[in-house]
């Protein structure tokens, strides 16, 4: 494959519940630490789920050249700016004089911003007409104009983080934002790779950012019964693949990577951290809530990615190992996902499935929704660097039918050079990436 078709990672950054830089995140993941605690952004004490994995003690202002430029940034933009700075610096892009900014683009999977719930609720109360059993829209409008902040409302548009990043770095090339729920940032990285391969850009800032740790986010997911309600044992609430798993735990944050063609990276002396060798994308097209019972969508995404990477899922290498050494699972800790993902892995890898370690770092970080894929991608690159894979924590009561090697509880040093990362979204989008150690 020529150098223009090979896509490498040259920088990474993260803002997460377990660290605001790669080293801190990694050491916490390997130690099996938990970022989940009582929600303190608002009083969630009476909600079915009272806990989440919040980003703590984070001030985005140290990550931008001029904070005033990002005066109105909401949480999503703030997280993304911090992660993007780390990635930009690691990729040494700041040192590039005269880099043609029209050849630099952005592709994020960023979520909707956070509503100002207090003022929204007050606006509704002020304008509710009891007799009519409805909002009086004239009174609502007058109250909303008074109570809601214009910039706060504008900042909720999902393309805002991408626009903030573009502004910070003077980016003028292709800029996209996608919002395929939990698959979004994996999809963003995959599509960014395609844009590079086509020559529509030379550098892409890719990844995701999201928080749904707010009143309506918690409400919405609790109404769907998607969240764990293990309020009496918060630290073990996220227990992917466990028999007693009862739903996912909300997390928040951002993961950003810098992607380039290998040709571009080498020609400017950048050091490739890893290579993206495969990307697959599919839709379940089944139901709005349930996954297809044969997990056909996730299996298809994995098969596409493996095919692009030239990997036969049923083959073994000379030492008798499958060609994929680690699967970073979507692994949300919902009853359905973990079962379906296991089924999909078996459908794809067949007799090799039980030979491939599979773990879910959502056991420690919670579910970063649109940002999950990017952070999990970063964890794969770190695993390749450190030759150790992070565990699935809280796996003390396995379910008999879920019989893969989920790397229970302890990180595991192994030789690895090829990872597969899955993200499956509410709404049926499925995306998979294959990440490999860089070799010439």
């Amino acid at each position: 494959m020529n150098l223009e078709n090979r896509i490498v990672v040259t920088g990474m950054g993260c803002i997460t519940p377990l660290g605001h830089d790669l080293e801190t995140l990694w050491s916490n993941l390997i130690a099996g630490r938990c970022g989940i605690a009582q929600i303190d952004r608002f009083d969630a004490g009476t909600f079915p789920s009272t806990f989440a994995a919040q980003v703590r003690e984070y001030d985005f202002r140290r990550y931008v050249a001029d904070p005033a430029m990002h005066e109105h940034a909401g949480f999503n933009s703030q997280f993304a700016l911090g992660a993007a700075r780390q990635a930009w610096v690691q990729a040494k892009l700041g040192e590039l004089d005269g880099m043609d900014r029209s050849r630099v683009g952005v592709y994020l999977g960023a979520g909707e911003g956070m509503l100002d719930f207090d003022n929204y609720a007050r606006t509704d109360i002020e304008s509710w007409d009891d007799a009519a059993g409805a909002i009086d829209s004239t009174r609502w409008t007058e109250a909303a104009k008074r109570r809601l902040d214009a910039w706060g409302e504008i900042e909720q548009e999902p393309n805002m983080p991408a626009s903030h990043i573009a502004r910070e770095y003077g980016i003028r090339g292709p800029v996209y934002n996608c919002l395929t729920a939990c698959a979004a940032s994996t999809q963003a990285i995959g599509e960014a790779s395609d844009i590079l391969r086509r020559g529509d850009a030379e550098v892409m800032v890719a990844g995701g950012t999201h928080t749904m740790i707010h009143v309506l986010g918690l409400t919405g997911f609790n109404r769907l019964t998607a969240l764990s309600t293990r309020n009496d044992d918060i630290k073990t609430s996220s227990r992917p693949f466990s028999r007693s798993r009862d739903g996912f735990v909300l997390g928040e944050g951002s993961g950003i990577v810098i992607l380039e063609t290998l040709d571009h990276a080498l020609s400017r002396g950048a050091r490739p951290l890893a290579e993206i060798t495969g990307y697959g994308s599919s839709a379940d097209a089944f139901r709005i809530t349930d996954m297809h019972p044969a997990a056909r969508g996730p299996a298809e995404a994995m098969l596409q990615a493996l095919a692009q990477a030239g990997i036969d899922p049923r083959a073994l290498d000379k030492s008798g190992r499958p060609l994929v050494h680690y699967i970073s699972a979507h692994g949300t800790s919902t009853v359905e996902n973990d079962a379906m993902e296991t089924l999909a892995i078996k459908a794809v890898f067949r007799e090799n499935a039980t030979k491939i370690p599979v773990s879910s770092i959502k056991s420690m970080l919670g579910h970063l929704i649109a940002a999950a894929g990017a952070v999990e991608f970063i964890a794969c690159v770190l695993a390749l660097h450190h030759q150790i894979i992070p565990p699935t924590t809280n796996l003390t009561d396995p379910e008999p039918e879920l019989d893969l090697d989920y790397v229970p509880n302890e990180a595991r040093p192994i030789e690895l050079d090829t990872c597969l990362s899955n993200s499956f979204g509410f709404g049926g989008q499925n995306d998979t990436l294959i990440i490999r150690s860089y070799r010439r």
Binding site: H70, G105, E112, T138, N159, R167, P174, E191, D194
Partner: protein, 440 residues
Amino acid sequence: MSCPAVITGLGPITAFGVGIDPLWSAMLAGRSAIKRIEAFDPGGFDCQIAAEMPPDLFNVKKVVPKSYRKATKVMCRDIELAVGAAAAAVEDAGLVTKASEGEAEPTIDPARFGCHIGAGLIASDINELAAALMTSRTDDGRFDLGHWGAHGMENLTPLWLLKYLPNMLACHVTIVHDCRGPSNTITCCEASSALSLGESMRVIERGAADACLSGGAEYKLNPMALLRQQFAGRLARTNGEEDPSKVVRPFDSRACGTVIGEGGGILVIESREVAERRGARPYAQVIGFAATQSHCPDTVGLSIPAADESLTNAVRLALDHAGLAPGDVDGLVPFGSSIPAIDAAEAHAIRTVFGDRAASLPLVTTIPNVGNCAAGNGAIGLSVAAKALREQRLPARLHTEDAEGLDANAGPARDADLKHMLILTTSQGGQNAAVVLKGL
């Protein structure tokens, strides 16, 4: 280009109805659907007019299989529009899908059928949410979050969140038509449809799909969404003073802001080879596409500078991609928002690229007719451009009287020799896209 992409079906949905025929008739006749908002009392807004679809023109229950009617209960209006548009596009393309009555095999293999539907920040229905919030109102008119968490939220339907997620437009469409290929939801405000088309084109060109349902839809006709547009300073002030149908006048010196419309569209984008094999008659080939990011001094891109290079670059790059010179373009569909600063930026880009020819290059504007449909806008422009190429006719143009250096003034429909059309857009957030179509 590995797999050239052609447009084989048009499915716009606007205040004039569903499908290309009602839109095209209205465009030829120079009709505007803009009038005083009826969906709610717009009295508190600076802009009290919009293009709304009369309720009797479209019923989503009639365009889905009987077995899917129950699912329409969890569709916000944006989703309904996308589902209606998809049905029209599929019919116009002569495709058999899972939604078709009868036993015929689907024309496109589901695994090779993609879906890229742009969407916006969807505001949840005010009354639906307020009715539930009111159950947690205290006697002295405050909101009791503790009560909400324990009891109040149970008054929200369990699937409430799924009604308003932007990716649910694509989710429902993929289920109805059994699209299991790559599916994405781009959320870049008014650039969403054009960026979606670009992605559909890339997906087909890289061989990952034979056909895609591509476009976008948005419904901002509720107080929250309209207020956000007012906060963003984009809306024309009307206060009921002028003939509402004359307020939108793109590129006119009296342009004073845009007006929202309800709508969007889906196009069927197909591999040329597949289209030819099944005997389809494509409207046009997508021969050029480019995406760029403008410099936004305000960071969030409420407007872009008049002399912005990136918008000009988008046009140039798309023409380069198409292998065309500016002189080869026969008609141009701009964003044409009637927002003065954005009109100025578009005018600058057009004059810069086309030079002296700009004064005689016909512009096709749609916002005076059907309003600014935000994430749905580009799909409307693309549909009209494709239809113009088929009919060799330019639609009438409305309202503008003193456009400088541009062929944008009001005038009747006329025959024209059209080989290549260029569709251009910018967006709130600064994302730009340009598409070049060649009539077939």
